[in-house]
């Protein structure tokens, strides 16, 4: 293995320190609101710091390094264009996200019940949780694969009778156990505090690694090899190459990003935990403006791998061709990262996984309990039973992810799978958005938007599978996945508007804009 004793020691000490902190924080949790949204006492810098750790997941690092290796910095221009839309919308005007915080809802489905009806809450809670959990199923096994290559562990860890126990499974089990422990102890309070300290370790490690790679390779060599290997597509995304980006792709990505701000559970739970609406938009603003730098540093690791190893798999490497692009960077880092930095890097990758997994798993567990179980109970849970229900759900989900990881075989690129799941969730975002701003947004319109974003993508996915099963090339399907998703969103929005205009029933709309102003002035809490 590529890991020295000092590296394991560093990893062990940091992990135990964080665990001790989590045990201590557990005592601060006194209510369900504390467990689920930290009592809504998270201020801007703490929220941002914890949010950074939550955003830098191990799967994100894997995917971002892969992008760097395959496309260099081609994504930068798209990031700039995206910021020009998203930052004013959410960071300056607080579009939708401030109103969500003002509603005091803990989750998207809870707001759906407040604004529309209980049955839609249950339906959206169920579908969103299902899509979110499905998305998360691949996180542990993908992250484990990356770590296995990084530490140089063998494919098979040991034999259990006739069964070859893969190292990926062992690492996956460790990752899930760690995430379980931290969410179990103290819920969202623990998550916020430990994520904050994990952020410090992650950022120190990433930047130290970045400096080391630049020192070894040199900036000129890095950039020149990128230009040589990828040409214009390394810095400009719209070259028109097959598999590259285009205008429809960008339009779809922007619309999906906007809708996810109102529908993606982990995002909304983070906003619900903040002390007031202005904190939400401010943390988005500052986080977006300065957060792109760390993404570029991670892309740079993939670029460094490209510079040192070239665009094709070196001979003698024990990784299949289909996953080489995602394994190139850990393979490269395993050869070039020395002791101490390797220990810190391992700790940061472990914490990147824990910080994201625990945020997401707590969010989806909360949604399952609050939105899929509680609405059917005649008598509400006691606070103790409520927290226990969430904890039990966390354990069940971790077991589910482990079992999924045992049988998972990638059949599509990671990002395509994640975005397909996200499309299902976006229907609720349309219902949320219109609900918060339009008095006439009706229950019928909300049902239509949620169902459209469920039925169309699933039908499209099934049709593609049939197309491929009949021997056709997936690239010859009559429309691209992003065109299908973009059309789904537009259709759902049109149906929301049309059905709402046709409805004459009074709605449960209330003016959240006024509450935002009052809360930001401190007149209410």
């Amino acid at each position: 293995m590529n890991v020295a004793s000092i590296d394991w020691t560093i990893l062990g000490v940091l992990f135990l320190a964080l665990l001790a902190m989590a045990v201590w924080i557990n005592g601060k949790c006194r209510s369900v609101a504390d467990y689920l949204v930290s009592g809504r006492k998270v201020r801007v810098w703490l929220g941002m710091g914890a949010g950074i750790a939550g955003e830098i997941g191990l799967v994100t690092i894997v995917g971002t390094c892969e992008q760097g290796y395959m496309r260099g910095f081609g994504f930068v221009l798209i990031a700039i264009m995206s910021m020009m839309i998203m930052v004013p919308l959410f960071g300056v005007f607080g579009f939708g996200i401030e109103r969500f915080r003002a509603s005091k809802a803990m989750s998207v489905p809870q707001y759906i019940e407040m604004r529309y009806d209980k049955r839609l809450r249950i339906m959206s809670g169920f579908f969103n949780s299902f899509a979110g959990v499905l998305q998360m199923c691949v996180f542990p096994i993908i992250g484990a694969g990356f770590l296995r290559v990084l530490i140089g562990a063998p494919e098979v860890a040991f034999m259990l009778g006739d069964v070859a126990v893969r190292s990926d499974w062992v690492i996956m089990g460790i990752l899930l156990t760690c995430a379980c422990i931290f969410t179990f102890l103290g819920g969202y309070i623990t998550l916020i505090v430990t994520n904050f300290f994990q952020m410090i370790i992650i950022m120190v490690s990433l930047y130290w690694l970045g400096f080391e790679l630049i020192r070894k390779i040199g900036v000129q060599e890095l950039w020149s090899s990128l230009e040589t290997n990828h040409g214009l597509s390394a810095v400009y995304p719209f070259t028109g190459e097959a598999g590259g980006y285009n205008v429809i792709w960008f339009a779809w990505m922007i619309l999906m990003s906007i809708l996810l701000q109102f529908s993606y559970g982990p995002y909304l739970q983070k906003y619900a935990a903040m002390d007031r609406p202005k904190t939400v938009s401010l943390s988005y603003l500052v986080g977006s403006l300065f957060g792109s730098g760390r993404t570029f540093v991670i892309i740079g690791f993939g670029v460094a791998a490209l510079a040192m190893m070239g665009p094709t798999q070196p001979p003698g490497v024990e990784v299949s061709d289909t996953v080489w692009s995602s394994m190139a960077t850990p393979y490269f880092l395993a050869q070039h990262v020395g002791p101490v930095l390797m220990g810190l890097l391992l700790a940061s990758l472990l914490f990147a996984d824990i910080s994201t997994t625990d945020q997401y798993i707590l969010s989806w567990s909360t949604s399952i309990v609050n939105d899929c179980i509680c609405p059917f109970k005649k008598k509400p849970f006691s606070p103790r039973a409520h927290i226990m229900a969430v904890r039990l759900t966390i354990i069940i989900l971790c077991v589910l992810f482990f079992l999924f990881g045992l049988i998972y075989t990638p059949t599509m690129p990671i990002w395509e799978f994640l975005w397909s799941c996200a499309t299902v969730i976006c229907g609720t975002g349309i219902a949320m958005l219109f609900g918060m701003y339009w008095k006439r947004a009706s229950i019928a319109g909300a049902y239509a938007s949620v169902l459209t974003c469920l039925i169309v993508p699933l039908t499209d996915l099934a049709a593609r599978q049939v197309w491929q099963a009949r021997g056709h090339d997936s690239n010859e399907y009559f429309w691209l996945p992003q065109t299908s998703a973009f059309t789904t969103f537009i259709t759902a929005i049109v149906l929301m508007i049309v059905l709402s205009l046709m409805s004459s029933k009074p709605t449960k709309y209330w003016d959240l804009g006024k509450i935002v102003k009052e809360m930001n002035k401190g007149q209410t809490s």
Partner: protein
């Protein structure tokens, strides 16, 4: 620092130096921003722990929507 001033492939025109400098400046700003977040976050941690120990516990604030009065368009427990 002088290492940052590199040569670019002229065939790639404006985009190569533009993206390079954008990435470099962003990475540097991110370091400074992280330091600010760390300092600010420590102060916010103190606020969080003080606020959690001082707050009154509302047992109905658990994600449910309470029964509504006519004209009352929705309340949480909290």
């Amino acid at each position: 620092m002088s290492e940052l001033f590199i040569q670019f492939d002229p065939e790639l025109g404006f985009w190569s130096p533009f993206v390079y400098w954008f990435v470099t400046v962003s990475a540097i700003l991110c370091v400074l921003f992280t330091l600010v977040v760390i300092v600010g976050g420590v102060f916010d941690l103190r606020f969080l722990f003080n606020a959690l120990s001082e707050e009154d516990v509302d047992e109905t604030d658990d994600g449910r929507v309470v029964a509504q009065e006519p004209g009352d368009t929705g309340k949480t427990g909290g």
